[in-house]
């Protein structure tokens, strides 16, 4: 399925087929979208909610599902003072319909067939579009060496934790390194601090490998990681960033 080339993005309805809690604050909505045109890994959708008096609110959510998956999955973090996220994670029930349009964004995408090694760096819910890439990679049997560095507040906040463990154990060239920034369990073997240059040097590719790099998460983290990678000698043009500003979620 391809989403190349310009197309009209119409508002369409998806039905919630399943709700999958991921962490205390995060859940996936698995949607059945009959008119879905297909998407590329890394793209997002706009969701529009309408109250009965006509009031509307719109937000964007990255697509978690791979292009090959039969349903469209979005993964949403419920923000404390959010307007839309507490509705999607909290109020929405199986069988409810959600209005959305997409897929949006032609730049922050990865397509199997790109032979370059892949470096994925995620902060919190920034893992979502990268997970679409990882799932797409698995579905297509890609073997390009892929390294994910994933920063979360705590072990309980790691989204897709079990799935990532399984995929990393699959022996097809995917390695996953976790870092926990606020607290870590006893016996924790991973990193336990904010991403810094040493960590990136250890986890990332030597610049001579010229990997494709995707960084996604809160703006300060993305800014700092992108900057460190440039300092490490990575070509800025090879680093694609997606920044989640938690603005009125």
């Amino acid at each position: 399925m391809s989403s190349r080339g310009p197309r009209l993005l119409i508002w369409q309805l998806g039905e919630v087929a399943e709700l999958v809690p991921q962490t205390p604050r995060v859940a996936s909505l698995v949607l059945d979208v009959p008119a879905w045109p297909g998407h590329l890994a890394g793209q997002h959708v706009d969701v529009r909610l309408t109250a009965d008096d006509g009031y509307q609110a719109q937000r964007s959510y990255s697509i978690a599902s791979a292009p090959e998956d039969p349903h469209l999955e979005i993964t949403v973090e419920r923000l404390e003072d959010g307007e839309v996220s507490p509705y999607l994670v909290g109020e929405v029930r199986k069988g409810d319909k959600v209005e959305l349009r997409g897929p949006i964004g032609g730049y922050f995408v990865w397509t199997a067939g790109d032979p370059r090694p892949l470096l994925l760096v995620a902060g919190g819910s920034g893992i979502v579009p990268l997970m679409s890439m990882i799932r797409h990679r698995e579905h297509t049997g890609s073997s390009n060496p892929t390294r994910l560095l994933y920063s979360s507040r705590s072990y309980e906040d790691i989204i897709y934790r079990d799935e990532l463990d399984r995929l990393a154990a699959g022996g097809d060239g995917l390695t996953v390194a976790h870092t926990l920034t606020r607290m870590h369990p006893q016996g924790w073997q991973g990193y336990a601090r904010r991403i810094d240059a040493d960590m990136l040097s250890e986890v990332g590719w030597p610049k001579a490998e010229m990997p494709a790099v995707f960084v996604c998460g809160p703006t300060p983290m993305v800014e700092s990681v992108a900057s460190m990678l440039v300092d490490m000698g990575y070509d800025p043009a090879s680093i694609k960033t997606e920044r989640f500003g938690a603005t009125g979620g």
């Binding site: 993005l9 719109q58 032609g106 730049y107 800014e223 990678l229």
Partner: protein, 201 residues
């Protein structure tokens, strides 16, 4: 409209500002940063601004020369295609009308281009007549690199991706060709009041 989201109430905003908020937008108090790649770093000692293309003679300014041009302070509402709107943002910069003074051209479009490779296309009439600036201060402070410093284009009546960060110059062209985001699914024009976010909107 036909579809109602069961159980959705939303957060009502105060009526005073709602006429200033285009469809699908919501007001924020912070200043989100969105970019496609790392923040370019341009020392002002190396900075230049140019006007080139379908004109008789290219114009260019160094940072010092640019800072000597007449400046304006403007306060505008800005609207990002990612749905946030920020009201009453204060900028200092040089009007594009000042930059275009004395430039003779039959071209109807410009391609704004930036350090780091970003581009965005606009009709010439959308950056002239008091509608656009090259801004180097936000809120009275030098524009932070994350927000496009040393200088960015400021075109508040269109979605903010048209306000090219790290702007390096304007190229006058005869045809409207898509810039960076326009080549990646976004609208060629980008009027927030007609909600022209994506191609075909």
């Amino acid at each position: 409209m036909s579809f109602i989201s069961r159980g959705f109430r939303g957060r009502r905003r105060d009526v005073a500002s709602s006429s200033r908020v285009p469809p699908g937008q919501h007001v924020v108090d912070d200043f989100p940063v969105l970019s496609a790649g790392p923040t370019p770093r341009i020392p002002v000692s190396e900075w230049k601004f140019v006007v080139e293309g379908e004109i008789d003679q290219m114009k260019s300014w160094t940072w010092d020369e640019f800072r000597k041009l007449p400046t304006e302070h403007v306060t505008k509402d800005i609207h990002c295609v990612t749905k946030w709107t920020k009201l009453d943002t204060a900028w200092t910069g040089v009007s594009v009308d000042t930059i275009m003074e004395g430039v003779e051209t039959a071209a109807e479009y410009v391609m704004a281009f930036s350090y780091g490779g970003y581009t965005t296309n606009l009709p010439l009439e959308d950056v002239t007549g008091g509608k656009a600036w090259v801004a180097y201060e936000f809120d009275g402070q030098p524009l932070h690199p994350e927000h496009g410093g040393p200088a960015r284009l400021l075109v508040p009546h269109l979605y903010f991706w048209k306000s090219a960060k790290w702007v390096q110059g304007l190229r006058l062209v005869n045809e409207d060709q898509p810039g960076f985001w326009e080549s990646n699914g976004y609208n060629m024009y980008g009027d927030p009041w007609r909600e022209q976010r994506y191609w075909g909107d």
